[in-house]
């Protein structure tokens, strides 16, 4: 583990040496300089949050891997926004949530999306049935044909993931 001082020095060196390159790389991928600048910035913020620099021998490969993840997140989010707006357009306007509520809903959809991609099919089904369909554990057990203990274990797993995503670094190992 690096000391706080050395750690920040490392990040600063990485930033000075590679920020320009990273920005260009992202611009080419995204075709939008504004988004590229945002994501390049986010890469370094991610690094600061991680508090360890794992592989500084290949800094550009390392930064590129993080950036690639952010690019995928970005597209996923765009897809979700797009799909949401289409669904919304089909509903009566009286039932439409306010702009503020919509922003919140898109945030939560993004959260569910990234959460689901990390879970196994059974855990995902359990999560959706519990949180979005409002079923209880015994109902989910009957629905999926598994024991109640399995449902509870799966749900606990999904909730641990939710917690880790909502409270990053807040006490979950």
């Amino acid at each position: 583990m690096l000391s706080e001082y050395t750690f920040q020095q490392e990040i600063q060196t990485l930033y000075l040496d590679h920020h320009g390159w990273l920005n260009g790389w992202l611009r080419k991928k995204l075709g939008c300089s504004q988004t590229a600048a945002d994501l390049a910035h986010d890469v370094f913020v991610r690094l600061l949050a991680r508090r360890t620099v794992l592989d500084i021998r290949e800094p550009r490969a390392y930064l590129g891997r993080i950036a690639q993840g952010l690019v995928i997140d970005h597209w996923r989010r765009r897809e979700i926004e797009q799909a949401w707006l289409e669904v919304l357009a089909q509903w009566p306007t009286a039932e439409a949530p306010s702009a503020e509520e919509q922003a919140q809903i898109i945030e939560t959809l993004t959260l569910i999306d990234s959460l689901l991609s990390q879970l196994s099919t059974r855990v995902r089904s359990t999560f959706v049935l519990a949180q979005l369909e409002g079923l209880t554990c015994p109902q989910i057990a009957a629905r999926l044909g598994v024991s109640r203990a399995t449902v509870e274990r799966d749900l606990a797993k999904a909730l641990r993931h939710c917690y880790a995503l909502c409270f990053p670094g807040a006490g979950m190992s």
């Binding site: 986010d42 039932e95 809903i105 959706v128 629905r143 749900l155 909730l159």
Partner: protein, 342 residues
Amino acid sequence: MKNCSTAEQSSLTEACTPQDVPAAIVATAIDWSIRLTFNMPEQEVRQDFEQWLKDNPLHRLAWQRIQTVNGRFNALPGEMVLETLQSVDKRRKKSLSRRHALKLLVLSGVACAGGLSLHRQGQWQYLMADVTTATGEQRRLVLEDGTELMLNTSTALSTAFDEQQRIVRLHHGEICVTTGADDRFKGKRSLGIHTPQGMISPMGTRFTVRIDREEVRVAVREGAVRLTPTASGPAGVVRAGACGILGRQGVRSAEPQPFGDDDWVDGILAGTSMRLADVLKEMNRYRRGFITCDQRIADLPVSGVLQITDTDSALRFLQHTLPIDVLYRSRYWVTVQPKALI
């Protein structure tokens, strides 16, 4: 220094400098959440929980955070969200590069928001998507043979129709069936309602089927139905006005309920001298969370018509007409107890 990384993350994060909660405490808080939010807990469980909450300020913090996490999902417009996730899923399926598509929404048959659609599979075979209702939701369906299904709160079913038979599989919940003439096949195809405990074969009729823990209750309004248990044992016939139970031990006749078996189709719960505890238990099926009833008032008689489509106003009605207090400990936790003497 902890950082609010991106705009995206900062809004997901309750606080930018989260106080550390040991993983073990978070895990315990999650266990409590599962017992209290996603199950029907006993009174002692809630007392133990209250004690745990008091034991340590970190317990309370962990609990608040889990509630925050759960709250995000509770507040969502469920149907619209499911529809969006399904739409995203479809798009990603088309694109091969998206390997981690949301397969679950199709695999687990959560086709709730799309309603009921028929997919052609071969010339004669129709395979219908699963249909579900959320807690408090009811839905009416008309199948291709003219059979009408009314789905009650938190119900899941699927159907499979082919040249020989019409199968409705009730996974959980309750339905009211009004059989159709199946004109196109001149009534040659048999209709069967399949449940884990056995099969119900109607003979031109209207009836309700309710899965209740280990048993299936079948109440017949018109005509008659045959009950065939999954377990060994003889089949039985239930005629109009009667009730039958399909259970582990086979078929038996059922006691009448204090309220009509198909009252819910009209969105009500109606009866005379119903036990308050029974009424609250029944109302609880239509709302998320739980309603607890103090033992001292459990036997109070309730007569009249209660709206199950709006359980909050039904609770207000009970409070006006009975010597009881209805306390909302949270949106999901209602306690009914004897009226306090001022």
